[in-house]
């Protein structure tokens, strides 16, 4: 278990993917993948494509991991979406805006676990079975 900083944000693939549709393969793939610096991956003993569990004080979710030299050491970047929002809290400090970036997160490899299918994730978290 390692302490990282969570950043969520836009990515080009997420933007292109959302125009295709929120259940499109491209979108779901992009928003269920987190990006970590390759050096940090080594320390975590993770390979790109493997599963990792991210946990903040608000929630926990399993994502697939990708290597990226664009991410600061000690940070994990997740594109905006239904997966990243499991990790985000609702305190807005009177501003209306929750904290979407710079959140302390625990990162640990999740061998034997899988990235949840989007519909499963929605049903499990929010109910309204389809």
């Amino acid at each position: 278990m390692a302490k990282f900083t969570l950043l969520t944000g836009r990515s080009l693939t997420q933007g292109v993917g959302k125009e295709e549709g929120k259940f499109s393969e491209r979108y779901i793939q992009e928003v269920s993948t987190c990006q970590i610096d390759p050096e940090d991956l080594k320390i975590l003993n993770l390979k790109p494509g493997e599963c990792v569990r991210l946990t903040t004080e608000y929630g926990s979710v399993v994502l697939r991991v990708a290597a990226s030299t664009l991410v600061h050491r000690g940070c994990v970047f997740v594109p905006y979406g239904p997966y990243s929002n499991i990790l985000i809290g609702t305190k807005t400090g009177g501003t209306g805006m929750p904290n979407f970036k710079g959140i302390p997160v625990e990162v640990e490899p999740a061998p034997g676990e899988a990235v949840p299918d989007i519909k499963e994730l929605l049903v499990k978290t929010y109910g309204r079975v389809q």
């Binding site: 900083t5 950043l7 969520t8 944000g9 836009r10 990515s11 080009l12 933007g15 292109v16 125009e19 295709e20 549709g21 929120k22 259940f23 499109s24 608000y58 929630g59 030299t69 664009l70 991410v71 600061h72 940070c75 970047f77 905006y80 979406g81 239904p82 929002n85 499991i86 990790l87 985000i88 809290g89 609702t90 807005t92 400090g93 009177g94 501003t95 209306g96 805006m97 929750p98 904290n99 979407f100 970036k101 710079g102 989007i118 519909k119 929605l122 978290t125 929010y126 109910g127 309204r128 079975v129 389809q130």
Partner: protein, 432 residues
Amino acid sequence: MKVVSAVVCPCCGNLCDDNEVYVEDNKIVKVRTECAVSSSKFLNYSKERNIKPLVRVESQLKPTTLEDAIERVARMLVEAEYPLLYGWSNTSCEAQKKGIELAEEVGGVIDNTTTVCHGPSILGVQDLGDPSCTLGEVKARADLIVYWGCNPSSAHPRHMKRYSALTKGRFRAPEQRKVVVVDVRKTPTARNATLFIQVKPNQDYELMAALKMLLQNEEIEEQEVAGVPVEQIDELAELMRSCEFGILFFGLGLTMSEGRDRNIDAAITLVRELNKWTKFAIMPMRGHYNVTGANQVLAWQTGYPYAVDFSRGYPRYEPGDTSAVDVLSRGYNDATLVVASDPVANLPKDAVKHLCSKPLAVIDPHMSITAYMADVVIPSAFVGIEAEGTAHRMDGVPLILKKVVEPPEGVLPDVQILDLILKRVRELKRGR
């Protein structure tokens, strides 16, 4: 085959209006655009769309008639004590106006995606003001372009080519411009920068304070601030002070990290200060193609740009209380109408939990993630492709979006759907 030119793209706040769309048999077959997102939109928009009104019957969404769907939405709004009407950023100003009228009619609260995007920027503007300009001024004059906490290469793909660093203006050629990127990570935009400054997450405020100090020739005792060596901060200060026309574009890196609206206060203060030495402006990189319009329309009709509550019969504005995430996470609202937005994908878990625990209706062209969870779904036409409408660019320049193809049979534009709901709401209220 016909060619429609000067087509305004309904994707991001760039609102580029120079696209060419080729139509054959009421289908878009080709689009001439320089942007991957735009291309995807025009060619793929109907891939995961929904064209049938749906209603949830025993946990499953089943097709229904438009009339039935309208009836259910109208009833939901009338029966609710405090409905939330949320979204609005991906539709036309005309539809936004109808939404406001509807919210006023049912005494609900209306909020748009600004609330989780540039809401803090608006709060900053309401504190200190907004020294700004239109994008053409940047094109004409800017020799220093700063992108702070935003990543146009990914989120606003044509920004640099069309409006800033890479375009030729009357007084400035691309080679006469410098680009500075300030971000927590080396984004694709940073790769093309003259100077990249990597700031520690949640410490943009400190960095701006340090910049201000150096501009005023004050001594900084530390070796580095916010993870940035003071020499580098000084380099940036000098670039800013000595330019002829500078622009600070900023994004969610500032609005979403710790400090939020205080980060924007710091940014606006920095730009105000810079005007002592040179001409400097600031501009938020608005995400959705008509979130600016949503703020503008709401402001001129109610006086306030987002998070407007009508429960007392007049507009009230209190971000932190009437804003969507707070309304939802505290469980204030007892029904929600979502228009042209996908809060289940975009809002934090606990807000979404409450959203899904109450009656939920969605008006959207896509089978969005929110639609997937809704009780009633009404399909709508894509503004800018299947329906005409007005939108405002990130710098406030208004444009009319064109109708390029006909929508599928029975699929109406948002503005018409909302009008039908409003009429039915009024009938139901009278019937009481």
